[in-house]
Subunit: 156 residues, 2 copies
Amino acid sequence: MTRPSGFDPKSLPESNSTSYPEPYRDGGSNRWYRRVGDHAGLKNFGVNLTRIVPGGMSSQRHWHTKEDEFVYVLEGEATLVTDAGEEILKPGMCAGFPAGAANGHHFRNRTSKDVLLLVVGDRVREEECHYPDVDLRYGPDPDGKYGFTRKDGTPY
Amino acid sequence: MTRPSGFDPKSLPESNSTSYPEPYRDGGSNRWYRRVGDHAGLKNFGVNLTRIVPGGMSSQRHWHTKEDEFVYVLEGEATLVTDAGEEILKPGMCAGFPAGAANGHHFRNRTSKDVLLLVVGDRVREEECHYPDVDLRYGPDPDGKYGFTRKDGTPY
């Protein structure tokens, strides 16, 4: 890239695809994201513009063992859910989730308007991710291949 | 951290300190930053809320060899300066600077109101940084210690 240039992240295509296995794929249908960092050619961390429609959630509640995460609220009222309960983050507020902090988190939209988040996460090999509310785990299978399994390591 | 919680990054203390050697320290006095990622306990990447006062600039124009950088404009009109010239980024616009893209960049505030940026950069050991406009380089000295030197490697 010889010419870094500014762009409006809202101009990028939006997707609601998810890599969760069934029966957890449904949650993806009410959150949409744009791959902002990828568009800019970034590789060391990801930046997504995530839109949660009313009633939706950003992801299953989870925590990363090796990856840091950061979320800044751009529009709407986001409800942050953690082990401690719920709190509302208004536009201009943010939260960070350090790698290894064993407190599952996600964001819900309990309002009637879209919530727009800027979400940053670094990209670590051999990451494991834990999901306290559902029978789901991301990590290596017995062959060392990374992906989603049940908590006991068996495949979906 | 057992309780990730939301916060207003504007509530954090602001600093205009700089690690640049003289005669490049002056530029720091017109940009202020809050260490948002550090406050949240993040270690793998930094997140700063950077405020550039009228007439100021975010940093010397530079590019990183191993670190990605991402900037989102929250308030004001930011002028992005690269080898290609200048362009104006309004609130809601962003830009990314991939590691190794040899095109020095910085942001200037050519308006009469503050510019507020959310700035993300990962943290890589053995990083080198190049400054096309001034006799400055960040990298290892002959003893392998990292810091600022002149372009020829001699100390300030």
